[in-house]
């Protein structure tokens, strides 16, 4: 087999679900041992493509070739036998089973009537971990592992199954910088073994850094494939959306505005220490830092869900004693969680009910009943104000796209008329067009005098929205920067240093 034969080649691949065209004439190839990134907005067809290659969906048209040989029709078992492994974002691990068992789970499938050989499983598990350059206690139960460790287990499982091509869906989403580096090291080893890795990622800066080639998809079609050194984030974003997204710096000097939130000496053992900052009316304060720097923990404490052990929080001059998030909301602090799907919205319930969640007690009349028209009006009002695209507020939230779901969350919190709004990674999993929409909402709020704290991993996002950026590391504030006085590249260097 010459080096020119790609490991995987798709020709004219199309997939239709009823009347919906999920994939349209895709021509794509992945070379053996290549590190390839697949990018595109939500709904562009990335996951359908992966599932089709993994044999989950039969294609409507086109061919799939592996090492030059056509392989259709393909089913999941067949794809696996050919070396295709998919690691979904949820990792598909068994939280109640041990590391060894999770890695060697394939074992269970081959030997229906014979007893399980724990020894063989452990041997194969440790062999594979050694290949990855990793040690992990084989007897630990997976639910006790960190996200990064679980990812290693998922990859190890793929190797036991003798993968030749591994798809990874958003693998770096929950990793700290060190863990990302370790993952990249592993990917390097995989490459050395001739195993190709295809990443799906929203983090365009990482994509450019990690990949050898980048493929952009949009609306079910492949826009193109480029060597990573020929593209940058801006170009990719443009290709993904067809729009020119230009973020200009909006930072203003808010020093003269009156202070709204004064935090001093705030500490919570094991999470953050000596946090001092002042937030002013109408200011947008960014908090940057790697995952694990304590930002979310700080936010949860400001929101009353955790109690600080030292220090104080003053809102408009008054000291706050927050015993629960209800106290925080009453005082005027609102928090949009980073985990939108499980903590931000209640998917199965209606949009209207989700919006009124935090304010419903105040809507009740003297009998304790919530008037129907007040309820409808609140919902319709916010649907209009935040331009949530939906024919009726009675629909369940799960019928909305990620960006619209996030607007529902915003509506819920804005309805509480907060003085301080804390946004924790608000645009994760939101496509580019909707991201801009959310930035517009933030700018609008700031103009109206609401103070905003924006926690984010994306430096460009912080630069596009904030007046000031605090940098946290290991639970402390280690720096402050003003966008414009420092470049994005410098900021990134500081963070990743």
């Amino acid at each position: 087999m010459s080096d020119d034969v790609p490991f995987l080649r798709l020709t004219g691949l199309s997939k239709r679900f009823g009347g919906v065209r999920a994939l349209e004439e895709i021509d794509w190839d992945v070379r053996p041992g290549e590190i390839h990134c697949l990018v595109g907005e939500n709904g562009c067809g990335k996951s359908t493509l992966i599932k089709t290659v993994a044999g989950v969906h039969p294609p409507s048209a086109g061919t799939i070739e592996i090492e030059g040989k056509p392989v259709l029709p393909l089913d999941p078992a067949g794809a696996k036998a050919l070396g295709i492994q998919v690691i979904f974002q949820d990792l598909s691990l068994f939280p109640n089973l041990s590391v060894a068992e999770n890695i060697a789970v394939e074992n269970h499938l081959d030997r229906l009537l014979k007893p399980v050989s724990w020894k063989r499983m452990r041997e194969s598990a440790s062999a594979v971990l050694a290949r990855l350059g990793f040690t992990l206690d084989l007897d630990l139960v997976v639910s006790d592992l960190s996200v990064a460790e679980r990812q290693i287990v998922a990859i190890a499982r793929g190797l036991v199954a003798e993968a030749r091509l591994i798809f990874m869906d958003e693998p770096t989403a929950s990793l700290t910088r060190t863990e990302v580096d370790r993952l990249l090291g592993i990917v390097g080893r995989l490459k050395a073994d001739g195993i190709a890795v295809v990443f799906v990622s929203h983090r365009l800066d990482e994509v450019v850094e990690i990949a050898e080639r980048v493929t952009v998809m949009r609306d079910g079609r492949k826009v193109g494939t480029w060597p990573a050194d020929q593209v940058n984030e801006k170009r990719i974003a443009h290709l993904m959306t067809g729009l020119d997204i230009d973020h200009s710096i909006v930072a203003r000097d808010m020093g003269k505005a009156e202070p709204v939130l004064e935090v001093s000496g705030l500490s919570r053992r094991g999470e953050f220490a000596d946090i001092d900052f002042t937030l002013r009316r109408g200011e947008v304060l960014g908090i940057s830092g790697l995952l694990g720097s304590g930002r979310t923990e700080l936010a949860l404490t400001l929101f009353g869900m955790h109690r600080a052990e030292h220090g104080s929080i003053r809102l408009e001059g008054r000291q706050l004693a927050l015993r629960s998030n209800r106290d925080a909301v009453r005082a005027g602090i609102a928090y949009v969680s980073e985990d939108r799907l499980s903590l931000g919205v209640i998917l199965q319930q209606s949009i209207g009910d989700n919006i009124m969640l935090a304010v419903m007690r105040g809507m009740a009349n003297r009998l304790g009943l919530i008037p129907g028209n007040a309820r409808r009006q609140l919902a319709d009002d916010w649907v209009r104000r935040l331009a949530i695209k939906v024919p009726s507020a009675d629909r369940a939230v799960q019928t909305l796209s990620g960006g619209n779901q996030q607007r529902v969350v915003l509506a819920k919190w804005l309805a509480t008329r907060p003085k301080v709004l804390i946004l924790d990674s608000p645009t994760v999993g939101v496509d580019i067009k909707n991201k801009q929409g959310i930035y517009d909402v933030v700018a609008d709020l700031a103009r109206q005098g609401v103070a905003v704290i924006l926690i984010s991993d994306e430096v460009s996002e912080l630069f596009a929205t904030c007046d000031r950026i605090l940098h946290m590391r290991a639970g402390r504030i280690v720096g402050e920067a003003v966008p414009g006085e420092i470049t994005e590249a410098n900021m990134k260097e500081r963070i990743y240093a």
Binding site: S92, H108, D139, G270, F272, E297
Partner: protein, 345 residues
């Protein structure tokens, strides 16, 4: 991170033990046994213990079957009804039609398995959630049984069924005769088999996997439907065995004898650490659960406490032990950010 996992593993055997419900249970049982052996005469005698084993053998066998279903991520409360139906039908075959022993036993077991598979069908193909499906099945089975039997017991069971089968007998110092009989042996066999099956066979491990994460199990290629039929079918089989043994012990087939015993068996399984959500639980744990309930009831009996009081004791025991096990197994970790070691962050 590496040090994290080292820390977690090395972070003492005792801490790990503290999180296991079986350990707590053993401790509680030990305390109870000590209390009773001091206060109740004849509690800690061999005769009493063997007697206890025999009395609870039927429930223990059902508990093993229920355990398998719980581990697979489902729940089934129709097993007592299944046991009764299997028992009664077998009794009919033996008395009305005079079938020989092997046929009767096989038919009884087959009925149990069939009812179990019916549950699996409802859960997997009709997609009814297991508690509702099995509640419905239980209502249907018991009601039909009571209707067709007219509530009448069958007293005339053949000798091969009701004659006591003794595997071992001995006379104790105090003149009591201790017999290890069929129910005890059956319980031991079933328990060992279930334990071996769930820890050492691939099907057993697949059941654990499915209980832990059914979606992942599907993706890895496990046949979820088949596994569910295996789990519920196994419980049906266990229920049938229990039903046949029950008739063996008491010498007659009473249609509603096992009515309302589901909750006791479920309590034992849950006390023993089986999780209602699936994927968690061990055979020793379930056994300990039964042991605790048995010991409590027996001890109170010997103390002359009215049997009415026993319900109260069960209730308190369930409340206290489930609260303790949930609270003690909560990890309660904070993100260790400042300590320097990166964590879940």
């Amino acid at each position: 991170m590496h040090e994290d996992s080292q820390m977690a593993a090395g972070s003492s055997f005792l801490v790990q033990l503290r999180r296991r419900p079986e350990a707590w249970l053993l401790a509680v049982i030990a305390v109870v046994v000590i209390v009773f052996s001091l206060t109740a005469r004849d509690f800690l005698t061999l005769a009493n213990i063997i007697d206890l084993l025999e009395t609870y053998s039927v429930q223990a066998i059902m508990a093993m079957g229920l355990f398998v279903v719980l581990v697979s991520g489902g729940i089934d409360i129709s097993f007592a009804a299944t046991a009764s139906v299997a028992q009664y039908c077998a009794a009919l075959l033996a008395t009305q039609l005079g079938f020989p022993a092997p046929v009767v036993i096989l038919c009884g077991l087959a009925i149990g398995v069939a009812l179990g598979c019916l549950n699996a069908l409802l859960v997997h193909y009709v997609r009814i959630t297991s508690i509702i499906a099995t509640i419905a099945m239980m209502s249907v089975s018991f009601s039909l049984l009571m209707y067709f039997s007219g509530g009448k017991s069958i007293y005339t069971l053949p000798d091969w069924w009701t004659n006591r089968v003794v595997f071992w007998r001995m006379e104790t110092a105090s003149g009591d005769i201790v017999r290890v009989t069929l129910p005890i042996v059956a319980m031991a066999v079933v328990t060992l088999f279930t334990w071996a099956w769930m820890t050492r066979s691939s099907v057993g491990r697949q059941l654990y996997a499915m209980g832990g994460n059914a979606e992942a199990a599907r993706r890895v290629g496990m046949n979820i439907g088949r596994l569910q039929f295996v789990a519920y079918g196994y419980l049906g089989l266990m229920a049938a065995i229990a039903g046949l043994l029950q008739a063996h012990r008491v010498g007659e087939s009473v249609p509603n004898a096992m009515y309302n015993t589901e909750l006791a068996v479920l309590s034992a399984a849950v006390l023993g650490g089986a999780s209602l959500t699936g994927g968690i639980g061990t055979v020793p744990g379930v056994l300990l659960g039964i042991v605790l309930l048995a010991v409590l009831q027996n001890g109170l009996n010997l103390l002359g406490v009215s049997s009415y009081f026993f319900q109260i004791v069960i209730g308190v025991t369930i409340l206290v032990s489930t609260s303790i096990t949930v609270i003690s197994s909560r990890p309660g970790r904070r993100h260790r950010i400042i300590a320097g070691a990166p964590s879940n962050g």
